[in-house]
């Protein structure tokens, strides 16, 4: 099964995007496979709205485990299944909490095999603040890494917020030559383009 990886800094909206994208593609629930280094791998099925309540938060580094869901897309006469993987947020520097470092190392462990990378940036935050503080070295590294993959795209998120306008301009300037799609994970804006991108690159 092909794998789509959702990557980005903490709070970019990875988890909300993953869940709302699942809803958008017609899934009714999401089966999350947790990769926990203490308990091994275990699965929980959550109704999508409940998942949103439980897994989305503006607390930094909220997602600590690799969470994945199997989704379907119409494909010719049939359907094609693929896996979308929500990951723990990445950051510059070294976090002092070993749990967060472990979560990031787990994210890295899945980066390699991914077929498609959706790199989420918080366009509102970038619009509001200095890019030196909002676009990290880690984002540039992810973008460079993405070039080795058949499907790499930047999703400029939170375009429902007014500051995002300026953010998108900054992102375009910082990542020339990369495809950038504008989305709102919250209001499912721009999802059609993401779906088309995924379909093209699966």
């Amino acid at each position: 099964m092909k794998q789509i990886l959702v990557l980005g800094q903490t709070n970019a909206g990875k988890t909300l995007f993953t869940i709302n994208f699942a809803i958008y593609l017609g899934a009714s629930d999401i089966s999350l496979t947790f990769q926990d280094s203490h308990r091994g791998s275990y699965t929980r099925t959550l109704e999508l709205e409940a998942a949103k309540q439980l897994l989305v938060s503006d607390t930094p580094h909220y997602t600590r485990v690799v969470q994945s869901a199997v989704l379907e897309l119409p494909w010719g006469k049939g359907i094609k299944k693929f896996e979308i993987v929500d990951t723990a947020g990445l950051m510059d520097g070294i976090h002092q909490d070993p749990q967060i470092r472990r979560a990031m190392s787990q994210t890295l462990a899945v980066v390699r095999q991914a077929d498609i990378i959706l790199h989420i940036l918080d366009a509102a935050k970038i619009g509001k603040n200095n890019i030196l503080k909002t676009i990290g070295e880690v984002d540039f590294q992810v973008a460079q890494f993405g070039q080795l993959k058949p499907g790499y795209v930047i999703l400029a998120n939170k375009i429902d917020l007014p500051e995002a306008m300026e953010g998108i301009e900054k992102i375009k300037a910082e990542f020339p030559g990369h495809q950038i799609l504008e989305i709102s994970a919250l209001h499912t804006l721009g999802f059609k383009k993401v779906k088309e991108f995924v379909k093209r690159h699966l």
Binding site: G93, Q96, R101, M104, L108, R112, Q141, V142
Partner: protein, 312 residues
């Protein structure tokens, strides 16, 4: 640098995520690792891992044959041609430390990727894990292990010890339970019986029914002195150490001596590992009170670090 190593550096807080990404990207663009993990790639990677094992040429050849056979049978099924039954239970014979478990683990992964096994994990057991002390409990104990191994490989070390006590021994009950499961549950479990060559041969001769149920019989030869030396070098390399000239000569001599003296019960790769680990500790003791150590100093194992007799 190996991938797992990169992840653990991040986990330990030794390097940043950016640094890790850049390392992975570089080794990918230099072609050292592949990024697309399609089924074919995963299989190719496992085969590479197998081929990287030192020596074991006949084993590698045989596994490639099994792989090809299974792959072609699967293709024939797809084309609705008559296909041979694929029975993948195996006998691994050879001395300890010749790579039996390593190979079993790789076979598990390989069959998982090929869709023969659902999980491909390895459950290693010996007599005590299968045989109970009281009547009637052995079947249950054995079934429990079989259940754990379902989807992967049940690797029974010194399997002939199950026949040790003769007809009345509970070991027989374990064998019967195993055989029954093999028949009921044809797919999704591979059993490997492992052990020394001679007792294994006797075991199969006295249980002719088993021989046909384990059609794949692989003999693991002992490593040659040169192969063992290569293994030692590889083990050191993985740990960022290297032997200087004197140390190379001494290590090779020790390996040859151990091999020549058959009485020493030379445990192959395991003994080599012990010598290496001892050398690393001795190097540390040699260096600990020195000042201004260079990178080379920290990496270099010298003649005096290498010691033949393997103590604690």
């Amino acid at each position: 640098m190996n991938q797992e190593r990169v992840f653990s550096l991040v986990e330990n807080g030794d390097i940043t995520v950016s640094e890790a990404l850049s390392i992975i990207r570089k080794s990918a663009s230099e072609g050292k690792i592949s990024l697309e993990m399609s089924k074919e790639n995963k299989i190719a990677e496992i085969q590479q891992e197998l081929n990287r094992l030192i020596g074991l040429e006949s084993v590698k050849q045989l596994i490639h044959e099994i792989y090809a056979f299974v792959e072609i049978q699967q293709k024939r099924v797809q084309m609705q041609l008559a296909s041979e039954p694929v029975v993948l239970h195996m006998i691994f014979s050879g001395n300890p430390g010749v790579g039996k478990t390593t190979v079993a683990r790789l076979i598990g992964k390989l069959f998982m990727e090929m869709g023969v096994l659902s999980k491909g994990h390895l459950v290693e057991v010996e007599r005590a894990d299968l045989v109970a002390e009281y009547i009637g409990q052995t079947a249950q104990k054995t079934r429990e292990q079989l259940r754990k191994a379902t989807g992967g490989i049940l690797f029974i070390d010194e399997a002939y010890s199950l026949a040790r006590g003769g007809e009345k021994d509970f070991g027989k009950e374990a064998i019967d339970t195993m055989v029954k499961t093999m028949e009921d549950q044809r797919n999704n479990l591979i059993i490997i019986l492992a052990g020394y060559s001679e007792p294994m041969k006797e075991f199969l001769e006295t249980n002719p029914g088993l021989s046909s149920r384990f059609p794949i019989q692989i003999e693991f030869p002992d490593y040659s002195s040169f192969e063992l030396f290569k293994i030692a070098e590889l083990m050191l390399q993985e740990r960022d150490y290297q032997l200087n000239k004197g140390a190379r000569r001494k290590l090779y001599r020790i390996i040859e001596e151990l091999k020549a003296a058959e009485t020493t019960n030379f445990g192959n790769a395991r003994t080599v590992r012990n010598i290496i680990e001892k050398a690393i500790r001795r190097q540390a003791v040699r260096l600990v009170n020195m000042k201004n150590l260079s990178r080379t100093d920290l990496m270099e194992i010298t003649e005096e670090d290498i010691q033949g007799e393997v103590g604690p």
